[in-house]
């Protein structure tokens, strides 16, 4: 469904005189992986590892410098912070339907689809006329998921979708994402710094560090017999419960 082949994305610092040779940030430096239909590829790494750059490249917000990306079907994204990713001056109905209006769909079909997709994310119909500030963090993230799903994408990029939520709310959103994946045979690129959440969600896992994938393997292999030292280090850092 998704294929990244030797994808590179470098950023250049503007002030080349002062940064003296350290002017390139290799955010994504030769990344290769593929994701099968209906499965979840978990991308895990610490801050600055390049995982969010991959998310943005996958959904087309950023262009790539070199390499090849293949994607079957549409792709949409859910961001980390549902407080900043939703326009505070738009109602849920406006937020969720916007993409359909842009695509020139008819109004009655749009209304039907919005109702439908709000039902999928377990939000009541009354939510349509409310504004983001009237919702809790978990509900807002459901709105963001509804917005992503409204155009019937085949692939969803989930960039730290539960990192800003309380743990009890996080559980509900993770369950919902699993339900939706089963109902709609969605393919997920799931990005997180939390190895526990990645294990819970993923079929395959890629561990990122400094723009490179240091290890790609099935969930079982990554968590029970990690090959790479950095993967082992990350796993050892998780406080046990």
């Amino acid at each position: 469904m998704i294929k990244f082949e030797n994808v590179k994305k470098y950023f250049y610092k503007k002030d080349r005189f002062l940064s003296q040779g350290k002017n390139v940030v290799k955010a994504v430096d030769g990344v290769t992986f593929s994701v099968d239909k209906g499965t979840t590829f978990g991308l895990v790494g610490e801050s600055g590892s390049g995982k969010s750059t991959i998310a943005k490249i996958a959904v087309g917000i950023l262009s790539l410098d070199s390499g090849v990306i293949e994607m079957k079907g549409d792709c949409d994204i859910v961001f980390q912070d549902p407080y900043s990713s939703l326009n505070p001056r738009m109602t849920v109905n406006e937020i969720v339907s916007e993409a359909l209006y842009i695509r020139g769909r008819k109004k009655d079909l749009i209304d039907k689809r919005v109702d439908n997709v709000l039902g999928m994310v377990r939000l009541e119909r009354a939510a349509k006329d409310k504004y983001p500030h009237q919702f809790s963090g978990g509900e807002r993230q459901r709105v963001a998921i509804a917005r992503a799903l409204v155009t019937e994408p085949a692939v969803l990029v989930l960039d730290e979708p539960v990192s800003s939520l309380d743990v009890s709310i996080q559980a509900g959103v993770l369950n919902l994402l699993k339900d939706l994946q089963e109902e709609l045979s969605l393919t997920y690129l799931f990005i997180s710094h939390d190895l526990r959440v990645v294990e819970f969600m993923s079929d395959m896992v890629g561990v990122m560090r400094s723009g490179q994938l240091v290890e790609v393997a099935s969930r079982e292999e990554i968590y029970s017999s990690p090959k790479d030292d950095y993967t082992r280090h990350l796993l050892a850092s998780i406080p046990k419960l």
Partner: protein, 264 residues
């Protein structure tokens, strides 16, 4: 053992709503008490009440905070200032906002020592060096500004500030929530070693039960301003009695988790 800090039946309201609702807890010498809860549970406000640093909109309706036999709320402002940063050190979640961006971190640590008059100016430099070494930072870092440091280094510098006056109590409010896991582990290991070495009493605020498991002796679980469960780490984590505590522990995915869905 006599507790070093006692909160008795504290009730605090903001705009008429009870944000701390009849909270009582004790902190014992050389022990770590953790307050666990989700956002809005009142855990941070409880920590702030210990230093009488509640926001102006908050109103203490009743209750008391007893430190060293004295009710903190009844102290004069200058007496409170003596306790803050001297007897009780504080570390907040975001090291970047806790530090002054236009002041070298070494000077910020030194400022605490000078403010409490516990050191002569010429002894300052070696003392600051020693404090930086204690938190495993190179003494050269003292000459850096906060933006030149990583998140983990900043939090170490904040811990050095909190430890400057050799306090008896340290309050840590989500000190590692803004940090990457591998850095979090280092900072928690540092906190644990300082605690043991100095026989410190720690009030540790967190949303994360795995950190409670690492550090705490006693645990209070808070929800909507109320302590819903209180007990030893073993009791609360291994055999929680309260439904909310159970739910909070169960809804966290774990490594090797075979569950297909989480409760929640």
């Amino acid at each position: 053992m006599e507790p070093i800090l006692i909160i008795n039946n504290l009730i605090v309201t903001i705009a008429g709503r009870r944000v701390i609702d009849d909270v009582s807890l004790e902190l014992y010498p050389g022990r770590v008490t953790a307050i666990v809860g989700e956002s809005g549970s009142g855990k941070t406000l409880t920590a702030l009440s210990v230093l009488d640093l509640l926001p102006e909109t908050a109103k203490v309706v009743s209750g008391e905070v007893i430190f060293d036999g004295k009710d903190v709320f009844k102290l004069r402002e200058d007496e409170k200032r003596k306790i803050r940063g001297f007897d009780i050190g504080m570390v907040f979640q975001e090291p970047f906002t806790a530090l002054n961006p236009v002041m070298k971190v070494g000077d910020q640590v030194g400022e605490v020592l000078l403010a409490h008059n516990i050191i002569k100016k010429k002894e300052l430099k070696p003392k600051v060096r020693e404090l930086f070494e204690q938190v495993k930072l190179s003494p050269n870092v003292a000459d850096s500004y906060p933006h030149e440091l990583s998140g983990g280094m900043r939090q170490r510098a904040v811990i050095a500030m909190a430890m400057a006056c050799d306090p008896r109590v340290l309050i840590l409010d989500e000190p590692t929530t803004a940090l990457d896991v591998s850095i979090q582990e280092e900072v928690l290991a540092l906190v644990s070693s300082i605690q043991k070495k100095n026989n410190l009493s720690i009030l540790f605020i967190t949303h994360d039960f795995s950190i409670v498991n690492m550090l705490a002796n006693e645990v209070c679980v808070m929800k909507e301003g109320i302590i819903v469960e209180k007990g030893s780490r073993e009791d609360v984590l291994r055999s929680p009695q309260n439904e909310y505590t159970k739910k909070l522990i169960d809804c966290i995915p774990r490594i090797g988790d075979k569950r297909d869905r989480l409760p929640g």
